[in-house]
Amino acid sequence: MSGTPYDRVKLARDNKRPTGQDYIKNIFKNIIELHGDRRYSDDKAIIGVIARLDGTPVTVIAIEKGHTYKERVERNFGAPHPEGYRKALRLMKQAEKFGRPIICFVDTSGACCGIGAEERGQGQAIAENLMEMSTLCVPVISILIGEGGSGGALALAVADRVWMLQNAVYSVISPEGCASILWKDSAKADVAAESLKLTAEDAKSLGVIDRILSESDIGSKEYYDRIRTLLTDEITELSKDPDLLQARYDRFRKIGMRSN
């Protein structure tokens, strides 16, 4: 692991990195994609599937950025609308009903900023996911595979375990946004990236994530096999926990606790 935090941001945004779909295709079998939020539309920035993980049925939610420019436009560059978060929540509630563990792959610069997104309640959609995910009574694992952009990423990362690729980033605001607000100069993004503590190592030392996944063999068969094994083992562990919900509550409850 090397480079400045801002180098990591650029790596995390690289469109040659595996995207949500790549993980789904290479880790799971018997994949069936399910569409739509049943309220407004089907958001292509978020993919929802039921599939088998080593034989066990699971629900997988992935933010998809796309690789080529055409794909990226179609996926809205991985910036979900409210209906994307509502589709995700619908499928997570469905997973809960049928006792399926949930796995989320998170990769977004942030929830979509736009007129339609505001008209349809982007804030409300994210808020509802945060609330509902906190009490889903099946194991939830979220993996940050690229950019973890603020509330738009967190809306799929209220999980029992949150993992991060070694070159993924997780931040409350983009370094460019932070620099332009604080110093009126988006060119100071490198300083902001440093100050925001957004790398995987930072997130781990802050207690925000539980595990850093190596990228040494990213994209290879061994890479996906390793993640599959990690997921299988972790889900087996979590499924045995009689206090899953209390542990999930405590996991977030203790972050940033300070009284003096």
């Binding site: 900023c113 945060l130 906190s134 009490t135 509330g151």
Partner: protein
């Protein structure tokens, strides 16, 4: 609707958590300029009218002013006053900003929490403080709100919350972001045992606070003309290269789109809240 006249005010007052010194008129009485009708209104007159201009514009209010306006006399008992921010990420300039905000607001953090009576009904109450870093949510705000919902759950009390926030406090990075999940989980627990939570959105309620506890209440009220939204207007304009409709991201806009229950003028808030609490928690 006449209220639409004062949407998108160019409010120079209170930007950055500071107040302009009131102008003295000829008679020597301090005045405040209304960003909606552009008239100079004597402060005494504004105070007599809960900081609402005769034209209907609702000026921002400090957290403790709100609490004393809404709650029964001498009934407020503050909770969690000792929870305050430090600089967990060693973020450049944050320490100074905290000190400045403390001076500007007279508060130790951007939210005031406690218990109180509203129309003789006991409840938990929080009011966010716009003069403290524009009500941004860092670890201390998240911790206080979470603690208040836990307290309310343990004592089986409803929660009334006045929101005003520019969003998550970026100087605390990921720790701020996680407060959205932490507060939401506490709201959910409070809700799941059948207790009432009423949010009153005031100007501005945006970003990470909109995307967490502001939008999670059983009943969501808002002050007229408040900015309510997720993304910042400037960001949306830059991203979409479109100019935004005049009413965009106002209380009236979110009411029309179905995201809040009711717009309530300041003078009616106490009565409305008391009535609602009584209907849920009274005998």
């Amino acid at each position: 609707m006449a209220l639409l006249n004062f949407l998108k005010p160019k409010n120079k007052l209170e930007e950055g958590g500071r107040t302009e010194a009131p102008v003295q008129n000829d008679a020597g009485e301090p005045e405040k300029n209304c960003p909606n009708c552009h008239k100079d209104i004597p402060l005494s007159r504004l105070w007599a009218n809960q900081l609402v201009c005769p034209c209907g514009y609702h000026f921002r209010m400090k957290a403790r002013q709100r609490i004393s306006m809404i709650t029964d006399k001498n009934s407020f008992c503050e909770l969690f006053a000792n929870i305050r921010s430090d600089n967990p990420l060693n973020f450049p300039g944050y320490k100074d900003k905290l000190e400045m905000s403390k001076t500007a607001s007279g508060e130790e953090e951007a939210v005031v929490c406690g218990t109180a009576l509203i129309g003789r009904q006991k409840c938990c109450i929080f009011a966010m403080e716009s003069y403290f870093m524009m009500g941004s949510m860092g670890s201390a705000v998240g911790e206080k709100i979470t603690s208040l919902f836990e307290y309310a759950m343990n004592h089986r009390l409803p929660v009334v919350g006045f929101t005003v926030s520019g969003g998550a406090r970026m100087q605390e990075g990921l720790l701020s972001l996680m407060q959205m999940a932490k507060t939401s989980a506490a709201v959910k627990r409070h809700s799941d045992v059948g207790l009432l939570y009423i949010a009153v959105l005031t100007d501005p309620t945006t970003g990470g606070v909109t995307a967490s506890f502001a939008m999670e209440a059983d009943i969501i009220l808002a002050e007229p003309g408040a900015t309510v939204g997720f993304a910042g207007k400037r960001v949306i304009e830059q991203t979409t290269k479109q100019s935004l409709p005049k009413v965009f991201q106002s209380s009236e806009f979110v009411l029309e789109h179905g995201f809040i229950d009711k717009i309530v003028q300041r003078k009616d808030q106490r009565k409305t809240l008391a009535e609602l609490i009584k209907m849920h928690h009274g005998e």
